[in-house]
Amino acid sequence: MPDSPLVTAAAIAVIVLAVAVVVGVGLKVVRSFRELGTDAERATYQTLHAASSAGQHLRTGLHAAGAAKASKQLRSLLGCDALAITDTESVLAWDGSAEELKAVLMGLAAGVLSDARTVVVSASRELNAVIAPIRAGNRVVGAVAAFAPQAGAGLVRATSELADWVAVQVELAELDASRTLLIEAEVRALRAQISPHFIYNSLNAIASFINTDPARARELVVEFADFTRYSFRRHGDFTTLAEELRSIDRYLLLEKARFGDRVQVSLRIAPEVLSTVIPFLSLQPLVENAVRHGLEAKEGPGHITICANDSGAFAEVTIEDDGVGIDPEHLRSVLAGHADGDHVGLRNVDARLRQVYGDEHGLVIETAPGEGTLITMRVPKSQPSHDA
């Protein structure tokens, strides 16, 4: 059923839309030409634009790929015939004519690289070269060479300024690199460790069973061995929820050896999220916190509930205890890193979660003195870049 009025209407709508788009784009182009400003403003703009786009290419340091792109813009700034960027060993990029001089450039630049001073040399019959060192900190990391028929004072000054500007970009790149290293080191340092108290207490608890219940003592030693093997493993910053839960089970078994029936734990795990990838030892400290600070200080039995839920594209893990709770103000200062002592395990996990998944994935802690504590952790199920 060809619905002719509808088709006509649709066709008209499409034409009107097309005309509107063409007119809109045209107006924009015309206006941008009109608003370009005076010659001086335009020159300033072009210089800054060339510098900023060259700067972007140099932000990863002196590499062939970035230098090749940057040299195009930099040559337009100097207005010379050819421009080259070298590091201390080889020519990284060449833009412009006379590429046959590439072979001799490192020879010409040797003096510049060793005593860090700008020189003017004649590179061939027609071309002179201004070679300026790139000084990052107090080292020479490379050189900028500009080739022109006449190398006047203007070109010399401009070239050494340019080399200094490149040096700033290289220093920024080094800063970036060290910041990345710092973050990695921080994550490594934050990787949770088992508390020495726990090891001491567990061994004591096991010792008390050796005479009264040797079978149980033997079983506990095996659990302890397995627990430490997992917790002390060196490889990998990530694990699966299933793996972490198994370690928590061993941990709780050891704690129960100490506390007996005072610790009661129930689990509610959605099987869908068991294979979710989480940071290594990110749950165990939360459970340890619940046992240590929630129940230990309390009289009578305490109850811990561990839940893992499927929540859309996320897995949600909650750990709840009915212990003494935490003073919110104190907790806030611990999480902000202002106070030490209790609950540093929480801060550690919180910081790592934020580091890995972003600020919106930090721990959510609901607590009040005497009211117990509920800790919620939310991680994306999809983490193709993390190997468990």
């Binding site: 397995d226 299933a242 839960l245 734990v265 689990l267 099987p271 869908e272 068991l274 990838v277």
Partner: protein
């Protein structure tokens, strides 16, 4: 049919779904049975869940309707719907599970290291999901009209309301069990009436069922091109269905993803026996339904027509319950996976964002369903498969099996497939099904190769854009992984005892 019976069946299914969804996980366990508490979903359960999610209105109502209309030609639909899982088993299930990506946009972004590819994939996935929900709502409208006499829109809205309430209230916590329950409910709801009817007819002296290839309706038979094109659509379309692929994430590893797929193949094969049998019964006992334009209602009307009285009412109630299980399970599966994609790409992935996205994912197709008309259900779902096969399938297959795929190639291929296939479908809808030429009405046979071709050619031309991470990711996709902690035997303990 007695209206009260239909309403009771619908309410029963809705309540059972919500109850399992909310309370399926309420069983708390102590650490004593830790290994029971942290047991992963068995392949059997997950396969039932995939079957539950996959068997939609098209399978439950549409297949029988098409067999009533066109006879044996319609058998290609169940064959294609099932055989698609063979492709999934061979090419996609295990590597996709190993990728660690939860949705198709996640996968393409990780594989091609490009935000732009992610955005295009998300758009396509949302389009596919919306298009797939619309026939479910048409099916719901039809069922409510036939079973209670209420207007069609009541059915569509009822399904959307139930789905939104359960998803938004967090009722899909134990989604695997809900969907697995729906599969067995659907199977029972089709199998029991068919077996009863066959037994009843055998007692009453059955007229010959044999000559199924005869064509009582006088409609033209489909040509070879149509059949090939349909099979291409169904085989490749299954590979890209967002709600089915999400389910594989429930499997703990690639190996169990494969085993699950194998079981799904078996479950689907068993299921499709019964719509086929219903269709054949319909050819003999209710050929008038084909003429008055209600072939899709065949499954619903057959028990009342052949048995009547209280047994007929009870069987009808069972069928209505099964039909609503089909609409609810497919729609909620789609809404959950669409909400995941929408909330991540548009709303920042918060809990609130997920709820808003779930509403968005459900309400948009509802408005589509009001403005469009219900045609043959199996056919319109087949068209969604054609669209999926021309867009998502190439990027998945090439992404998993070809190192040379580049982000530009992936985008170009997906857009080509979307424009060609979408254009053909819109054009043939405008022209009307009787006027449109076959190549326009069943476009998959040429749009799928076109999408693959463009994707490969553009990728070859943009070799420099192949990401440097490709080797690492390919290794991850294809090398078997360690089993999960809760699956490994406790070696040390066993030695001790």
């Amino acid at each position: 049919m007695n209206p009260a019976v239909g309403l009771a069946a619908f309410l029963g299914v809705a309540l059972a779904t919500a109850a399992i969804g909310f309370y399926g996980l309420r069983i708390s366990r102590t650490t004593g049975d830790f290994y029971v508490a942290s047991r992963t979903v068995r392949p059997w359960w997950n396969a039932s869940a995939i079957g539950g999610e996959y068997l939609s209105a098209a399978s439950f109502l549409g297949v029988a309707g098409l067999i009533l209309l066109t006879g044996t030609d319609a058998l290609w639909f169940p064959v294609g719907y099932t055989a698609g899982y063979l492709m999934l088993l061979l090419f996609v299930a295990a590597p996709l599970r190993r990728s660690g990506a939860y949705t198709i946009p996640d996968f393409t972004e990780a594989r091609l290291q490009s935000k732009a590819v992610r955005r295009v994939t998300s758009l396509v996935v949302v389009a596919v999901g919306w298009l797939y929900i619309v026939p479910q709502l048409h099916g719901a409208g039809l069922t409510i009209r036939i079973s209670t006499g209420l207007p069609s829109w009541v059915g569509s809205i009822a399904v959307i309301v139930v789905v939104c309430l359960t998803v938004v209230a967090g009722g899909m916590r134990s989604i695997t069990f809900v969907q697995a329950f729906q599969y067995w409910l659907k199977l029972t709801a089709l199998a029991v009436p068919v077996v009863f009817l066959l037994m009843h007819q055998a007692d009453a002296g059955m007229p010959a069922l044999a000559d199924a290839s005869s064509n009582p309706t006088g409609l033209p038979a489909a040509g070879l091109y149509q059949t090939v094109s349909l099979l291409v659509a169904l085989l490749f379309g299954t590979l890209g269905l967002p709600h089915v692929l999400v389910r594989f994430y429930t499997n703990p590893d690639g190996q169990s993803a494969r085993r699950t797929t194998l079981i799904v193949l078996g479950l689907l094969s068993v299921f499709y026996l019964f719509p086929t049998a219903s269709g054949l019964l319909g050819r003999v006992f209710a050929p008038e339904l084909a003429r008055n334009g209600q072939p899709d209602a065949l499954v619903l009307l057959l028990p009342g027509k052949l048995l009547g009285g209280v047994p007929g009412d009870l069987l009808s109630a069972l069928v209505v319950a099964g039909a609503f299980a089909a609409f609810l399970s497919t729609t909620s599966g789609l809404v959950v996976s669409l909400a995941g994609v929408i909330s991540q790409d548009l709303l920042g992935g918060s809990v609130r964002g997920f709820r808003v996205a779930a509403l968005l994912a459900a309400v948009v197709p509802l408005s589509f369903s009001f403005t469009t008309d219900s045609t043959a259900l199996a056919g319109s779902v087949g068209l969604v498969f054609a669209f999926t096969a021309s867009t998502i399938c190439p990027v998945l297959l090439l992404g998993i099996w070809w190192r040379g795929l580049s982000d530009t190639g992936a985008i170009a291929g997906m857009l080509t497939g979307a424009v060609l296939c979408g254009g053909a479908l819109v054009a043939s809808t405008f022209m009307g099904s009787s006027v449109a030429p076959g190549w326009l009405a069943q476009p998959a046979a040429w749009t799928v190769p076109a999408a693959f071709g463009v994707m490969i050619l553009v990728s070859r031309a943009t070799k420099h854009r192949i990401p440097g991470t490709v080797t690492r990711l390919m290794t991850r996709l294809h090398v078997p992984e360690r089993p999960l902690a809760s699956e490994r035997p406790l070696a040390t303990k066993r030695q001790l005892r």
